[in-house]
């Protein structure tokens, strides 16, 4: 998904008139949205599956790396023996072509890597985007100019190319999933976020309660932390909800180009990359990771929408040029 969409969507969250808030309110409003609740449960389950991968595979009695040469037909390119890709009591979802590795185990371990990488990259993007954005919004003209320019450079940087180069530079000993997460986080997404946060900061900075905090005698850092950051939560969370699925697909694309997470570590993107040619001979090999990815993106998107609605129930216009006076609310 496009970063710009994220920016526009998130910017739609109007903070100029802060919504009545508090965590309780937020949960109450989230609870009223059934789709979002279902999505939250799905996301929670996915995370749980990822965390419990060793346990789940232990129950199945398999692991994600052991080869089972006897379960594939070597003469036919290693297509799994038996119907449904060799699915059965031993291998719940069948085995991987060529190697005979257990697909269920690879899928749940893949969830670990894919979700882990995506979440970690998102954290990097959020930290960078918010810190740079707030600093640019609060800093003087030069700080603003330099930081905005830096963000621009990262927006203009082609992700795949720089990722290819960076992933080649770092020594092989560095844990690969961490590296992929760092590179994805560093190179993509945050520039747009920073520009959005900057714009939001400039808006928030004008708010009376920020002025009041200044009059109280607080310094810039404290004001940023106590008064601005909470106000940025809604657009930033919205942004994050869209960044996570984007990062999952970026991981898949990097795998396709051969610089993603390395085998034997399974990830959904890497499974998809190996599986697309098997679409005709062993369809389940492709459909399983594709389905998992789809479910994740769907759940995260719906949840993101829900969170956004809960944080900002008034679908108010981002373009409103208000007169500054309150409207009669009868």
């Amino acid at each position: 998904m496009s970063e710009a969409l994220v920016a526009v969507e998130a910017a739609g969250t109007d903070t100029s008139v802060p919504a009545a808030s508090g965590a309780r309110q937020f949960w109450r409003r989230l609870r009223t949205q059934r789709a979002a609740l279902v999505a939250a449960v799905v996301v929670a389950l996915l995370v749980l599956v990822a965390l419990a991968a060793p346990l789940l595979t232990a129950i199945e009695g398999q692991d994600p790396t052991t080869y089972h040469p006897s379960l594939v037909d070597s003469a036919r390119g290693g297509v799994p023996v038996g119907s449904f890709g060799g699915a059965g009591a031993d291998h719940w979802l069948g085995v991987e072509p060529q190697t005979g590795r257990d697909l269920f185990a690879r899928l749940v371990y893949g969830a670990r890597v894919s979700l882990g990488v995506a979440l970690a990259a998102t954290v990097v993007q959020l930290v960078l985007g918010v810190v740079v954005g707030v600093a640019a919004g609060l800093g003087n003209r030069w700080v603003d100019l330099v930081l905005t320019r830096v963000a621009d450079i990262f927006v203009a940087m082609p992700l795949m190319i720089v990722a290819l180069a960076l992933l080649a530079i770092v020594p092989a000993g560095f844990p690969r999933p961490v590296l992929v997460a760092l590179v994805v986080g560093l190179v993509s997404g945050w520039g747009t976020l920073a520009k959005m946060v900057r714009a939001q900061t400039l808006t928030l900075k004008q708010l009376d309660y920020v002025a009041a905090a200044r009059l109280s005698g607080w310094g810039t850092v404290r004001i940023a932390r106590r008064e601005l950051l909470p106000g940025l939560a809604a657009p930033v969370i919205t942004f994050a909800a869209i960044l996570v699925p984007t990062n999952i697909t970026v991981e898949a694309a990097l795998s396709f180009l051969g610089v993603g997470v390395k085998p034997p570590t399974p990830s959904w993107g890497q499974m998809l990359t190996s599986a697309d040619v098997w679409y005709q001979a062993a369809p389940q090999y492709l459909l399983l990771p594709a389905g998992a990815l789809f479910l994740t993106v769907l759940a995260l998107t719906v949840l993101g929408d829900g969170v956004r609605t809960a944080l900002d129930p008034r679908a108010s216009s981002r373009l409103r040029v208000g007169t500054g006076r309150r409207r009669e609310a009868s």
Binding site: S16, V17, P18, A19, A20, S21, G22, L207, D208, Y209, A211, A212, A213, R214, L215, S216, G217, W218, R226, E227, P230, G231, S317, L319, R320, V321, G322, T323, G324, R325, R326, R327, E328, A329, S330
Partner: protein
């Protein structure tokens, strides 16, 4: 047959009853004002007249007949014919009530073509005609402009033009002047008056401002909590109100003819501004918001700063507290030059919603100045916040509540408590009551007065409402286009304004007395003719 006949109207939103058994009639060509404070249900009634609650989840019961259409039972098609065709509505915020993307003439033409089967050209011509009718100069050209290219008053005229396009029998005006400056407000009210005289249409005016009502109508219906409190001819209701609530409402309205404050004893100067100037933007695009303003403020006195939107009064207020750095000029506080913020100079903000962080408890917000001063003892902080809350008329137990749990007036009290927490010697109040209902307004003004006497505070009272400023100030400065054009003791300035602009401003203030209103209207015509 009456133009409007409402019988036993009840409107429920979820569990909340907004209108509760309201009945009234409006005859052809007559004018009725629905007057009430926030939450009285007056705007809900206006919407119900056009069936705008359909499909929104609100439950509407009772009978509503408008121009012969039973709104409750009418078909979609009948409703569409009613809306705009027989009864047209003018909304409060003229900017957001027009589509920002289309030319104003096109928007009027679009509405006109819905009700009159005419060509695009003819509809466009009609749009120019009505725009001209409401006094838009050079209407043919201006009809091609988009809403943001119009001033507030012009936009309101355009909305009225849209309403006029189909020659409806009834005009419903929902707070048509709330967002406007006082002089513009007067012009719009005058326009409505003229139009009614000429076209003979009925007018239903919805407003919280009794003064606005007095200017324009025949009958008044005062509402509270969704019910009618008092209903009768305007002179009767406003002149000799029967109900206590009506009396309270009227008493709270600041009047230009009320006794002015006795001038305070001159004491030492606490704040002195000389040659303050502020520009925004750089180069050719620079705009001077405040130019060469010099003021002095003495202990215990209130300086009123009055002006219309864009006059630079808010910018000046922010410079006085140090939130904005002046481009030129200097400030002296208690004899010493100072820049930047100073806890001893505090501010009370206009909007009680945006001036409190919605995500922090009010106690936390009030404690900010204490903590910033280095106070670390939680017990002492809590005690002091409790005292402050009680001092502004709230309870110490409110410490852990969040802003949204308070009403507007209460929130403004919290804002005052926060300002007080810094032990200030000067408080700049930027439109502190303009967002409040009149009764609440009066209470907050009283509170500020008490605090001033008790603590010897110097107050700067920035406002657009001349009556309010007159009520609270010792001295007043009138601002226009960034400069102070007139300054002096309240009595002098209001009684014998030297500057013609001041005179114009004073003439524009709505009067409560319908006769006085008529007289003023005549005065305004004269002033305009000059």
């Amino acid at each position: 047959m009456s133009l409007v006949d409402v019988r036993d109207l009840r409107v429920d939103f979820g569990g909340l009853r907004a209108v509760d058994g309201l009945s009234f009639r409006l005859e052809q060509g007559a004018a009725l004002a629905l007057v009430g404070e926030s939450g009285s249900g007056k705007s809900t009634v206006a919407s119900a007249l056009l069936g705008l609650h359909r499909g929104t989840g609100a439950r509407v019961a009772g009978t509503v007949e408008v121009a012969g259409t039973d709104v409750q039972t009418a078909s979609e098609e009948e409703l569409r014919r009613l809306r705009g065709g027989k009864a047209a509505m003018v909304f409060q915020d003229p900017l957001s009530s027009l589509d920002p993307y289309y030319a104003i003439g096109d928007q009027i033409a679009e509405v006109y073509r819905l009700h009159a089967r005419v060509s695009r050209r003819a509809a466009r011509a009609r749009a120019v005609e009505v725009l001209d009718r409401v006094g838009i100069p050079d209407a043919a050209r201006r009809s091609r402009a988009r809403p943001h290219e119009f001033s507030g008053g012009m936009r309101q005229r355009a909305l009225i033009a849209m309403a006029l396009a189909c020659e409806p029998g009834l005009l419903i005006a929902d707070e048509p002047t709330t967002a406007l400056d006082v002089t513009v407000q007067a012009q719009v009210l005058d326009l409505l008056h003229t139009l009614r005289e000429e076209t003979g249409m009925g007018l239903l005016l919805v407003t919280h401002d009794v003064g606005v009502a007095a200017e324009s109508i025949d009958e008044v219906l005062v509402m509270q909590y969704g019910r009618a409190v008092e209903h009768g001819p305007v002179a009767g209701v406003l002149g000799s109100p029967a109900e206590p609530y009506t009396r309270e409402l009227l008493a709270a309205v600041p009047r230009l003819d009320a006794p002015a404050k006795a001038p305070a004893e001159p004491e030492e100067v606490v704040l002195e501004a000389s040659g303050l100037r502020r520009e925004f933007g750089r180069g050719k695009r620079a705009v001077t918001a405040v130019r060469d303003v010099s003021l002095t403020l003495r202990r215990g006195e209130t300086l009123g700063i009055v002006g219309e939107s864009g006059s630079g009064k808010t910018t000046l207020g922010r410079m006085l507290v140090g939130l904005l750095e002046p481009t030129a000029g200097s400030l002296r506080f208690e004899g010493r030059a100072h820049t930047g913020v100073n806890p001893a100079v505090q501010m009370v903000f206009q909007d009680p919603v945006s001036s409190l962080n919605p995500r922090r408890s009010v106690g936390e917000s009030i404690a900010d100045p204490l903590r910033a001063r280095g106070e670390r003892d939680e017990g002492r902080i809590r005690r002091r916040v409790g005292e402050l809350l009680e001092r502004v008329g709230l309870e110490a137990a409110h410490h852990d509540r969040y802003p949204h749990e308070f009403s507007g007036g209460q929130r403004q009290r919290v804002g005052i408590a926060r300002a007080l927490a810094a032990d200030p010697r000067v408080i700049v109040c930027d439109e502190p009551v303009s967002a409040l209902d009149v009764t609440t307004q009066a209470h907050v003004i009283d509170l500020l007065g008490e605090l001033q006497r008790e603590l010897g505070l110097a107050l700067v009272f920035v406002a657009h409402d001349l009556a309010v400023v007159r009520q609270v100030s010792d001295r007043v400065a009138v601002m226009r286009q960034g400069s102070v054009i007139e300054e002096g003791p309240v009595g002098e300035v209001y009684a014998s304004p030297r500057d013609p602009y001041t005179r114009q401003l004073l003439a524009a203030v709505p009067a409560l007395d319908p006769e006085a209103a008529a007289r003023r209207r005549a005065e305004r015509r004269e002033l305009a003719a000059v």
